[in-house]
Every structure is written in C-alpha cells, then in structure tokens.
C-alpha cells in the first residue's frame, strides 16, 4: 500500500537518485542490505543499526499510517523578495533544490494519522537548501497549525534545518516571529504540539518553533543547538566538548524530554499524542 495517494500535484521522488539495484552496501558495517528492507526499517541499517539519511517523504512514510497522508491543497514556492544573488541567484538555488528533491520547499505538510490518531504533520527536509526556514516554510508551518486548530488535531513538527534562509534576509528572520505567534493559538486552543528534533535542528528554527513543543523529542543522532560549532569555536578559541550539541547533551542539559531511536518514533508519537486525545 502506498503512503502517498496518487495526486498529480505532489510528485514525490522517494528515491533521490533513480537506481535500479535492489541492494545497497552499508557504509558502516559493509554488509550488502536489501534496499526495501532498509526503507521499511526507517532507513536504519538492518544489520548494524547505522542511520541513513531520511528524506521528508521517507519520514512521512515511516511515521504515518499507510494511506493516511493528505497534503494540503495549495502549493507554495519561494519568492525572491530581495532579488538575492550571491555566488548564484537565489532563484536558481530554489529551482535546483526543487528538481533535486521533488519538493516545493524545505517542508512537507499535511494531515495524516499515527496509529489511528489524527494529526497534522510537518516534516522539514535538510536537502532543500539546508532545510532553511524562509517565507514558504514559515507560512506552511502556520497553515499546518491553523489546520490543527480547525480540525482539533495535535500538531507534529519534525525539524531538520540549519536555521533561517539567509537569501530571504529579514523576511526569513521574521519567520521565527511568525511561527511562534501562530503557535500560541494552538496552546490557547488546548491542542498539543510535539516537536521532534533531528539532525540538525539549529539556528532560527531551534530558537523558535522547534523549542516550543509541549513535548520535545530528539531523534538519536540529532544535532541540537543555536549557534554553529564553528562560530562558537572562533568565539571561545577552545575545542568543544565531544558530545556538544548532541541529543544526549540536550537531554542532560534539560532541553528536551526524551531521546528515541528512529525505529521507535512512530510508536513514541502515538503514545505521546494519546495522552491528549479528547483533551479540552
């Protein structure tokens, strides 16, 4: 059964590069593993447990009940409010990212169900310009939250983002304010927000919506922090502790509620959301 209903307007390239081989070699343990097996195992090596990169589409597939995903109707794409060009034009970067990922921007949002519990879910995708939050990501998060309120469902956001999208300048920074402003409404409506932090959840995303979950779950292997390692190392001219900004660092430091293995994320979310089903 396919997770993604066949809809013309959402073309999902679950396999990033078309590849006819049925088998892949795990970089960690060297075993040849059956690709479909890896997919079904949340992109975790069935042999050694190594985590392979998971796209937003793959994440949806591994978390939502089969066939339950319904993307929102309207597709949005980045504008270029500053006519921004660095070594390349922003518009080119966006077009390339769209082509590479099959996504409109760095987030997928829609309705779905997790072990039967209806949710609205957003999944960020690091492949799309570092998962950065520009106007589209900000707007989509707001629409997702508004749909949560309208449908009285919990909201789940799976972050994978380096932070703000520099190329949109202040428009991008203000998405922090935007998402948080709308997040408040969810709280006022008495609906839960479960924030899932993956590799990486940093910068302006970490310092806004992602840190405001009623429950914050980090995936094993996540990177969590505000400032980048390089910036900090330059500032303090010291080497950083080994597990700095890892999920275990965040747990010890009281920044997150729980760490879960990717394979368990689905059941974890079901348990967490279950407490709020029928909440006032």
């Amino acid at each position: 059964m396919s997770l993604f209903k066949e809809r013309q307007y959402l073309r999902v390239h679950v396999d990033r590069e078309p590849d006819d081989s049925l088998w892949m070699k795990c970089k960690s343990c060297g075993e040849l593993v059956f690709k479909r097996r890896v997919r079904e195992n949340s992109n975790v090596c069935p042999s050694c447990g190594e985590y392979f990169f998971q796209t937003s589409q793959e994440r949806l597939e591994s978390i939502l009940d089969p066939g339950s995903y319904e993307p929102f109707g309207e597709r949005l794409a980045a504008n270029d409010p500053l006519s921004f060009t660095d070594s390349r034009a922003y518009q080119e970067r966006v077009a390339e990212a769209q082509a590479k990922t099959g996504l409109d921007d760095a987030i997928l949002i829609g309705r779905g169900a997790i072990e039967g519990i209806p949710v609205v879910i957003g999944v960020m995708d690091f492949r799309f310009i570092g998962g950065s939050m520009g106007s589209v990501v900000g707007e989509q998060i707001c629409r997702a939250i508004e749909a949560s309120i309208a449908d009285r469902r919990g909201f789940v956001l799976i972050s994978s983002s380096g932070g703000a999208r520099i190329q949109e300048g202040m428009f991008s920074l203000l998405q922090m304010a935007k998402t948080v402003t709308v997040r408040r409404r969810l709280a006022e409506a008495g609906l839960p927000f479960v924030s899932v932090m993956t590799y990486p959840t940093t910068g302006g995303v970490e310092a806004s919506i992602a840190s405001l979950g009623d429950i914050i779950i980090a995936e094993k292997g996540a990177m969590i922090g505000f400032a980048g390692r390089r910036v900090i190392e330059q500032t303090i001219a010291e080497e950083l502790p080994a597990h700095f900004q890892t999920e275990s660092f965040a747990l010890e430091r009281g920044q997150i509620d729980r760490v879960v293995r990717r394979e368990d994320l689905r059941s974890e979310l079901a348990v967490a959301l279950g407490f709020f089903v029928g909440a006032r």
């Binding site: 202040m170 998405q175 502790p241």
Partner: protein, 319 residues
C-alpha cells in the same frame, strides 16, 4: 568622493582659522564663512547618499552612542532590575523601569561596552540566556502592571559560547518570542545600532519596530553571510548590500514602521540631536499604541506577524 577623515581635517583647519581670527586684529570672517559653506556641501555629498556598507560601518562605529547614552535623555528615573532569578545577571541586556515623559514604562536595552574592561563584562554586547530570561521576567512584570514595553536593540547577535548552549539559549529566545507575541501591553522596539539576528529579534517582536537611520537589522552579519554564501569573508560589503539590512531598505520592504533620523555622518556626530529624535519617535508610538483598546492592539500584532513573508502559489505543472 572626499572621505570622512579629510573633512575632519578641514573642519580642524577652519577652527584654527577661527582662533587666529579672534586673536589677531585681521578679519578672516568672510573667508571662514566661505570655507564653512564648502565644508557643509562636502559633508552633504558624503553623507546623504551613504552606501549600505557605510551604514554598516556607522552602525558599528566605536563612537556610536549605546543604549545607556540614550536612556538618560530619552527616559527619566531609569530604575534597573537585575537578574533572571535562575542563573545570573547579564550586563549586555539591561532591564528595568523608567519614565517616558512621566509615563511609567518597562525598558529592555542591549548595551555594548566601550572599554576592554567593559566589553569583558558585557560580552561585547552579545546577550546570553541569562539576559533573555531576565528580559522575559521584565516583560511579564510589564504585563502584570500594564506598563508599555520599550526595547532598545543593539547587538551583533546572541553570545555564541558553550555556556550559552548549555543554558539553552535557543529555547530562551523562543520563549521570549512567544511571550512578546501575546504580551498584553503596547510594545515598541527600536534598533539603535546593530540588530543581530535572533539575538535581536528576541526582544524585538513588537507592535512598532523602528530603526535609527544608520542602524542595521539582519538575519546574519555581512561577514557571516559572506563566509557561508560567497565562501569569502572579504565580500562582506557585497553581502551587506544583498541582504538589504539598512533602515531605508527595510522600511521600503515594509518590515519596519519608521526610521529615526540621525545627524549627517551618524548619531555619534551629535548624540543629543539623535536622542531628541529618538525620544520623539518613542513617545509618539507609545502614545499612539496606548490609545488603542488592548484587543485591537493584540489583533493588529497578530495580523502583522502572521502575515509576514513573501511567497507565491506554485502552479501545477507537468514538467
């Protein structure tokens, strides 16, 4: 174009002539007057069409007035409140109560240091989690007593250090944003120098956002953008332009509500005049906001931030 240093030299010469004129019997007043006219023209040329990079340099000018330089003249009775009640007191973000033309307000102000000693104490004006949590505490105090909240923003960014991360600086910024989003009092933020990314926004989610004419407000420093996007730190000047971080640009983009004029050459050329302009602007906006019913104020704030951003509908294609 003549640069600033040459003009300063000319000004010094004129002053010397003026002294000579006073001392001796000879009358140089006409010549002096002519030179002064010339100086004014040159100055106008130099400053009235500042490039973005020149504004960045003025925003960071070591002689630029800092928050405390304004506080004494814009407000009266500044009564500092210290500490986050949890971990410590951040000297890079000052908080307290003050009076604005007699009206009690709550004040948040990012403060840079001028001396090495002071910079050490103030972490070069970069706010730490202790500062953000103190700010949140004072925001809530303002709300409890119905006091308008005024923020003076001036930081190159939140302090990027190990302790900051240990103390969940991202979470602290996020909580401040959430607090400001629903704060039940009028809020005015003014970027007086550098508005450095999330570290600035954390006290800047306000009903009115103003900038001094030569202040900057950006998602990233020009140097940071140059390093990441151009892979070349030296191209900060280009980045500064591309990011549209100056007050005139941000006003044009509709992201701020007003620009507070500075004297030619920047605030440091005449802090008193700048201060007067700042006061006028803050008083105007606080008074205007205070006249709104609270529910309208909150609805307007909600609409403003809910709708910020530019995107397009993506047409369905079969490409």
């Amino acid at each position: 174009m003549t640069d600033e240093r040459t003009l300063d030299l000319l000004e010094a010469k004129i002053e010397e002539l003026r002294q000579l004129n006073a001392m001796d019997g000879m009358d140089l007043s006409k010549e002096i007057a002519r030179l002064e006219e010339k100086l004014a023209v040159l100055r106008q040329d130099l400053y009235s069409n500042l490039t973005d990079w020149e504004r960045v340099r003025i925003a960071r000018h070591p002689k630029r007035p800092y928050a405390l330089d304004y506080i004494a003249s814009v407000f009266s009775d500044f009564y500092e409140l210290r500490g986050d009640r949890i971990v410590g007191d951040d000297r890079a973000l000052l908080a307290g109560l003050a009076r604005l033309e007699g009206r009690p307000v709550a004040l948040l102000a990012q403060q840079k240091g001028r001396t090495t000693e002071e910079n050490k104490e103030r972490f070069f004006g970069m706010t730490r989690p202790q500062g953000y949590r103190k700010a949140k505490r004072v925001m809530e105090l303002a709300e409890r007593f119905g006091l308008p909240l005024v923020s003076l923003i001036d930081t190159s960014g939140a302090y990027p250090g190990v302790e900051s991360e240990e103390l969940n600086i991202g979470g602290a910024i996020a909580e401040n944003l959430q607090t400001m989003a629903g704060l039940r009092v009028p809020t005015v933020a003014v970027v007086i120098g550098e508005g450095g990314s999330g570290g600035a926004l954390a006290i800047g989610l306000a009903d009115r956002v103003l900038m001094l004419e030569n202040a900057i407000y950006s998602v990233i420093t020009p140097e940071g953008a140059a390093a990441i996007l151009w892979k070349d730190k030296e191209r900060a000047r280009e980045a500064a332009t591309a990011l549209q971080m100056t007050a005139p640009h941000l006003l044009e983009l509709g992201l701020i509500d007003g620009v507070v004029p500075e004297p030619l050459g920047g605030a440091h050329k005449n802090p008193a005049i700048t201060s007067a302009a700042l006061k006028e602007a803050v008083v105007h906006h606080v008074n205007e906001l205070a006249a709104f019913p609270l529910d309208q104020l909150l609805a307007a704030r909600y609409a403003r931030y809910r709708n910020v951003g530019r995107y397009s509908a993506r047409p369905v294609t079969d490409s």
